[in-house]
Amino acid sequence: MNLDDFLVRAALAGLGVATAAAPLGCFVVWRRMAYFGDATSHAALLGVALALASDLPIFAGVLAVALAMALLLTAMSGRRVGSDALLGVMAHGALALGLVAVSFLPQVRVDLMSYLVGDILAVSRADLGLVWAGAAAVLALVVWRWSALLATTLSPDMARASGVDPKREQLVLTLALAITVAAAIKVVGALLIAALLIIPAAAARPLARTPEIMALMAIGVGAFAALGGVWLSLLLDTPTGPTIVSLAAGVFALTQTVQALRG
């Protein structure tokens, strides 16, 4: 395999992000955290602005801001503010604030689009290393805590009675989400990271009878969308990140239709 080829790097980056995002995305779907994922990934743009303004690597800036956002959301959930409205405010507020922040940085205004929808064809060797390191960390976290996370998802009190600390598991999810956002911003951009979490998991749902099978199927859907999306975007000369997400959405439509036809 030739890492000098930008296409190979793009395919590998897409594959890495999709593989890590899919099992984590299952928890996002099961715990109804779609908006939570949205808010965290939208905050990534603010991280980009922060990184560029302070000469930090983009990965570090995005990781820090996404983590701060996810921790803030976790701390705020369970308060009396309507959770749905609160997350909506945070998701759109973070995006708007990020857009305002980058407008102060002339060098970013030029390629704002690449931070919003990703620029997978421009992934460097160093980027690829970060993407795979991040993806491996997320996958390791989710696999290591899998059963405890699942028990916490079903009932925090039941998990507690079995010796699992639900707060700790929530923190594991929060951390994994922040790392995913940092790894994925180059690949699909701040606007579409949440799509990569949710759509493969949702597409896999009708195909599975156990949580483990659903996660594996979601990885399959994600990998297919990533590789197919890179190829299709070259063929059709379309933006790659949105093409990947469109393909995943197509698989979702397909599995839903098959399920509906089966009754």
């Binding site: 699942l150 009675a161 009878r209 156990t210």
Partner: protein, 250 residues
């Protein structure tokens, strides 16, 4: 024999609001204790404190060292997007062998549903599956939060008989909470009535032969249900008159 759990002068708060105060109680090995009380009386908060999910505002909870607790939550909200078989559920958070799955389900009276989806179970089956999962820990103490909610009277009676059988076989103590103020599990050794504190305490009236009992329960419950007669020495004021709501029982 030493107590499984000793609670002293406990006060609990939920979202900054006091829900329970001045609670002292002990649970002895093998006894069945039922807690009744209206909604918001602090019963579920006490259970959550006993499993360590809610820290006390005041007072202490002492658990016997090495105490094993089995917990059956009030209800399980399983999102439609989460595929889960009964067998996989029983293996959370620690995986178990197929043989143990089968044995646990048989013990709980639902031997044949290991491969069913959790979402497809009836209310009664769901309660038994949660009971089976709780029993896998070989608990010294089984804690059930409103376990018969959503079951009809014969369903509740049948579940209570199941619990009694489990207690006899395994010898575990049982602590259960019910929102039904007057109808309790007949096998309860003690009944505690909560309303922000312990209102009264007593034993259930076993009146299975009385005509009133048959009028209330019919004949399908086989003595698993009993009445609890509240003996309150104090008044809670007009907004809190649960003990006079049903005059015929007092």
């Amino acid at each position: 024999m030493s107590a499984l759990i000793t609670v002293k002068d406990l006060a609990l708060a939920y979202h900054g609001r006091e829900v329970l105060r001045d609670v002292s109680l002990q649970l002895a090995p093998g006894e069945i204790v039922t807690i009744v009380g209206p909604n918001g009386s602090g019963k579920s908060s006490l259970l959550r404190a006993l499993i360590g999910a809610l820290p006390p505002v005041k007072g202490t909870i002492h658990r016997k060292p090495g105490l094993r607790v089995g917990y059956v939550p009030q209800k399980l909200v399983i999102d439609a997007t989460l595929p889960l078989t009964v067998a996989r559920f029983l293996g959370l958070p620690r995986r178990i062998t197929r043989a143990r799955v089968r044995a646990a389900l048989t013990e709980a009276g639902v031997g044949e549903i290991a491969d069913h989806q959790m979402a497809s179970l009836s209310g009664g089956q769901m309660q038994r599956v949660m009971l089976a999962r709780a029993l896998l820990a070989k608990p010294d103490l089984l804690i059930l939060d409103e376990a018969t909610q959503g079951l009809d009277q014969p369903g509740a009676a049948s579940f209570y008989r199941q619990i009694e059988a489990v207690r006899q076989r395994q010898g575990c103590a049982v602590l259960m909470v019910s929102h039904d103020l007057h109808v309790v599990m007949a096998a309860s050794d003690r009944v505690l009535c909560f309303n922000g504190h312990i209102c009264c305490e007593g034993t259930p009236d076993i009146v299975a032969s009385a005509p009133e009992y048959r009028a209330l329960f019919g004949t399908g419950t086989q003595g698993a249900l009993a009445l609890y007669r509240h003996e309150h020495s104090h008044s809670h004021g007009p907004e809190c008159n649960h003990d006079t709501a049903d005059g015929s029982l007092h």
